[in-house]
């Protein structure tokens, strides 16, 4: 097929004649014959659009979602409402089909939307400056660590075992290249035990998440104190929904804040595209990764927006750049800005409150089930972890038969949280309740869980 190449046969012939060729194959004469693919790609021919859609529907129908599998899973990916206004506006093709704003005179739409997004992320994090997005929570953590190591010139990083295990996994993967030394600090009673941090190498960065992976609210003060003892930077992971109720990382002393912005306007989508939130103190701005939009004026003195401090970036600094980010997650960032404006000042607080209420209600119901106990101590806000009398992965499978996504299996090995598919250590189930879950759903969930763990 090739539905999207508009040329007619006679146009192709005319164009070839214009450039002195007689066949399309001749366009590829520069490719050595030995390298040319003979017989074409080993793939089916193209389909009509309705046939493609039918095929895509077939994949879609083979997933269990929505009312068929009522979602109580979180772990960094939450089933929040996406209102019609956000959905529709995110489909505006002026946003969808634009490139990175290299020509600001015709990109004021994206640039201003990003400026508004940066403002909101800065306020959420309690820091002065936010970038125009990173890929996801993991990449935001990685970039925060890279910034801190570059700033302090010390490659040792203390990371709380309560930071999302997949984010820590990505950090470990990328540390193979940067040579950073990652030291994981265990949790005790659900919160990071900074006193157990090793002597020896002085860290350049101290990393904590609040709430942590198990949903527990952490005090940033001990982490700040640990950072101060070593003149390290404090990198504070935050949940932007919880931020509606909790003190911001900036207010609690974080130098850099990082997080996952999926809750604002982005459906679960098997985990992507999501949104890496990144903010830092103003004096660190010259090490800020990725794009940054600034407000300025045009030749006539009118307000205008443009990507700025470009000299930090890979296309100019090349091998000396501290980040390689080029394409980011702009459309998702614009969606988050729209969603946050739709929520508004009162709505963000209300959203956080509703999540916290549902979580309290569900937690009480689940803990009332015989044999179920909290996995750790510590206050929670919008997610909680419990020990079950059966293997949590088995419980999740059985609950799926009952029509629920029961949560995410979690584990603690030596006090450090492990990935859902890691069978190690002390096991539990992490349960998240968003503003979408009704009392009826929560009651039915608890009843089903009681049945399957019996």
């Amino acid at each position: 097929m090739g539905h999207y190449v508009p040329h007619t046969d006679s146009e192709i012939a005319a164009m070839l004649a214009d450039i002195g060729l007689s066949s399309l194959d001749e366009l590829f004469d520069v490719v050595p014959a030995a390298l040319r693919l003979t017989g074409g790609l080993g793939m089916a021919d193209g389909l009509s659009e309705p046939d493609v859609l039918a095929e895509m529907e077939r994949y879609s129908e083979r997933n269990r979602v929505g009312a068929d599998l009522v979602c109580f899973a979180g772990a960094g990916a939450y089933d929040h409402e996406v209102p019609s206004a956000t959905k529709r506006l995110m489909m505006r093709t002026e946003f969808v089909t634009a490139y990175t704003p290299y020509q600001p005179e015709v990109a004021q739409g994206v640039l201003q939307a990003l400026f508004e997004y940066q403002t909101m992320v800065a306020r959420l994090s309690g820091l002065a400056v936010a970038n125009a997005s990173l890929y996801d929570g993991a990449s935001a953590l990685v970039e925060a660590v890279n910034l801190a190591v570059a700033e302090t010139r010390r490659p040792t990083v203390w990371v709380s075992g309560g930071v999302h295990p997949h984010w820590r996994a990505a950090l470990a993967t990328l540390a193979a290249g940067t040579g950073h030394r990652i030291v994981e600090i265990p949790l005790r009673d659900g919160v990071t035990d900074w006193d157990s941090a090793p002597d020896g190498e002085t860290p350049g960065a101290v990393v904590v998440a609040n709430p942590n992976y198990l949903g527990v609210i952490e005090d940033l003060a001990p982490a700040r104190a640990a950072a101060d003892r070593h003149a390290a930077l404090l990198l504070g992971g935050f949940d932007p929904v919880a931020a509606g109720l909790l003190r911001s990382p900036g207010a609690d002393g974080a130098d850099v804040a990082f997080g996952e912005g999926q809750p604002f306007g982005t459906p679960l989508s098997l985990g992507g595209p999501y949104l890496g939130l990144f903010a830092c103190r103003l004096d660190l701005v010259r090490r800020l990764p990725g794009r940054l939009v600034g407000r300025t004026v045009d030749v006539e003195g009118r307000p205008a927006y443009v990507t700025t401090l470009r000299a930090r970036e890979q296309d100019i600094r090349r091998e000396k750049a501290s980040s390689n980010v080029c394409t980011n997650q702009t459309l998702i960032a614009v969606g988050a800005m729209i969603q946050l404006a739709w929520l508004g000042t009162a709505g963000l607080r209300e959203l956080a409150l509703r999540c916290a209420r549902g979580t309290r209600y569900a937690r009480e119901a689940v803990l009332a089930i015989p044999g179920v106990a909290p996995l750790t101590g510590g206050p929670v806000l919008r997610e909680f972890a419990v020990k079950l009398p059966v293997d949590p992965a088995v419980a999740v499978d059985r609950m799926a038969e009952e029509g629920f996504l029961a949560g995410v299996p979690v584990g603690l090995r030596d006090g450090v949280t492990v990935a859902p598919d890691d069978p190690a250590g002390e096991r539990g189930l992490l349960v998240a309740v968003t503003e979408r879950r009704t009392r009826t759903e929560i009651d039915a969930y608890a009843a089903a869980l009681e049945k399957v763990v019996r």
Binding site: L37, N63, T97, E105, Q108, A170, P420
Partner: protein
């Protein structure tokens, strides 16, 4: 041809009137003009956007300026969950002292604000976007619908495999197709963009060499490479060694050989390269790099040019990243999200990030993490919806359609280069692939016309600017990539516009652009007086 429907270009209209010739004025002797539409009229260019009425000359207020205390847009589901207070739910000392101020606007005002912002934004859906290296092709609307299906957007990434079989099958099918297109053995879909793919590839290179017990320190890149390449090399723990391009615009083979030794971990190449030229010596390059034990990395930004024609795997590459947001029509979203899968040859497959979707003999799908995996590079499974879009695009095109894509892209770029010959400098005036690099060096010397000015003037003519000042090895570079989805009429109109700009003796470019929502933006001031948020504006003029 008195009623020529194109009529927007004075020069073209004049030449037509004088000569009675229907050909496009930008190319003497062109036969394109003989291709006529209904009733003998030449079709109007579909990709020229000068008709767009961008209303008014005012700035759009920031969303924060529209705030009115007490106003709101939100509305929440009725849940019957008990209404505990914030004080009951949050331990004292952790509660935010006062609500976080965002903005207080109605849904109507929010929608109007954002819609007005979209009216201040150029996009592929508006007109041609010949931004070199970025492959700004048309993004089929079909793919939007395909990626919005409820079973795809509703799936939780940590749901058990039994609940996401459809997604896993899709990812397996896409993986197979990407391996076929690149001629590679296995692929990870996790990297969320090209640069992330590069870094993943370099870490794979590291893991491979480490397993061979070798500690190599250098990676070679050409001087024409994209900035993400050297930046990724550094993050991968390697030193960048630059190899110059020769007078053909290709890797200087002798210079490369002089840089090769057993300390070289590999080479990163874009083929066709960033000049739009096919690296004809690729087989020799591959042999030379492999001879010292190095690996070949393929930056797939320019894969569009060779779909179904030749494959990186057949050229000898070991690691390949693709930009699905270029080649496979995932829309750029104003700067992302994209997707940068990395495909590898058999000897590197066991190092890929996991988990990978895997097809079992009974037709079910499981996740598998390779034995010696370098580990995760994304929180979940990559930019999944972007992957689904790309797969729907591949299904619609098929093997035959993808080859047509490459043909269209290369035909358009070569035609346009011919059309501009004699007007702009063409430092590498030889058969190109999907893009080419022109330069205004002579025009700058002659009348001060810079690449930047051409870009700004082109905006007034209803087109997006080409990429300017890249690759770095060309002075006053204009990197032009028309893509296969622009019609010959649009190409002709674009050529006309570029030729007119170059012919201007009055210097109209100095004030350009004048028809856009804002005029030239003061970038120096933006950097000097940094205003990155609305709150930083306080006290600023």
């Amino acid at each position: 041809m008195s009623d020529n429907t194109t009529g927007t270009n004075t020069a073209a209209a004049t030449s037509t009137a004088e000569t009675g010739d229907t050909s496009v004025h930008s190319m003497d002797g062109t036969s394109l003009g003989d291709v006529t539409g209904v009733e003998g009229h030449r079709p109007a260019p579909g990709g020229k956007a000068t008709s767009v009425p961008l209303l008014g000359r005012d700035a759009e207020p920031a969303i924060f300026e529209m705030s009115s205390p007490g106003r709101h847009a939100h509305s929440f589901r009725t849940t019957q969950v008990p209404e505990w207070s914030a004080e009951e739910l949050v331990p004292a000392g952790h509660l935010r002292p006062e609500p976080l101020a965002l903005t207080e606007v109605s849904e109507r005002d929010l929608v109007a604000h954002v819609t007005r912002l979209t009216h201040r934004q150029y996009s592929v859906d508006l007109g041609a976007y010949p931004l070199g290296s970025c492959t700004m092709k048309y993004n089929p609307k079909l793919c939007d619908d395909a990626a919005a299906l409820p079973g795809l957007i509703g799936a939780h990434p940590a749901a058990p495999a039994s609940c996401t079989q459809g997604w896993m099958e899709l990812l397996c099918d896409l993986s197979d197709a990407l391996c076929e297109v690149t001629g590679m053995h296995a692929v990870t879909l996790q990297p969320p963009a090209g640069a992330a793919g590069e870094l993943t590839g370099l870490l794979l290179m590291r893991a491979y060499h480490a397993a061979q017990g070798s500690t190599r320190t250098k990676v070679i890149i050409p001087d024409s490479a994209h900035g993400t390449n050297p930046a990724s090399v550094t993050l991968g723990g390697y030193q960048t060694v630059t190899v110059p391009s020769d007078e053909r615009g290709l890797v200087d083979l002798d210079a490369l050989r002089a840089r090769l030794d057993t300390d070289v971990a590999g080479i990163m190449l874009t083929n066709p390269n960033t000049l739009g030229l096919f690296e004809e010596d690729i087989a020799e390059i591959a042999a030379a790099v492999h001879e010292v034990g190095g690996l070949l990395y393929y930056d797939g930004a320019n894969l569009n040019a060779i779909l179904g024609v030749t494959r990186p795997g057949d050229m000898g590459f070991d690691i390949v990243h693709m930009n699905l947001h270029k080649t496979f029509a995932v829309p750029h979203g104003g700067g992302g999200p994209g997707a940068g899968p990395v495909a590898v040859s058999q000897r590197l497959a066991e190092y890929l990030p996991g988990p990978l979707p895997q097809r079992e003999e009974d037709g079910s799908f499981t996740w598998r993490t390779p034995e010696q995996s370098i580990g995760r590079v994304h929180t979940w499974h990559g930019n999944s919806l972007a992957l689904a879009r790309a797969w729907s695009y591949i299904l619609a095109n098929g093997g035959d359609g993808l080859r047509r894509v490459a043909e269209g892209a290369v035909l358009n770029a070569n035609w346009l280069r011919h059309a501009l010959r004699g007007t702009y400098d063409l430092p590498y005036d030889r058969p190109n692939m999907h893009e080419f690099v022109a330069s205004t060096t002579s025009l700058k010397k002659g009348k001060g016309l810079r690449a930047l000015d051409v870009g700004k003037r082109l905006l007034e003519e209803g087109f997006h600017a080409p990429t300017v000042y890249f690759p770095l090895i060309v002075d006053e570079a204009l990197m032009i990539e028309p893509t296969e989805t622009e019609s010959p009429q649009t190409l002709a109109a674009l050529a006309d516009a570029l030729i007119d700009i170059a012919a201007d003796e009055e210097g109209a470019w100095k004030a350009a652009p004048r028809t856009t929502p804002v005029g030239r933006v003061d970038e120096a001031r933006a950097a000097r007086t940094l205003i990155p948020t609305w709150d930083a504006l306080d006290g600023q003029p």
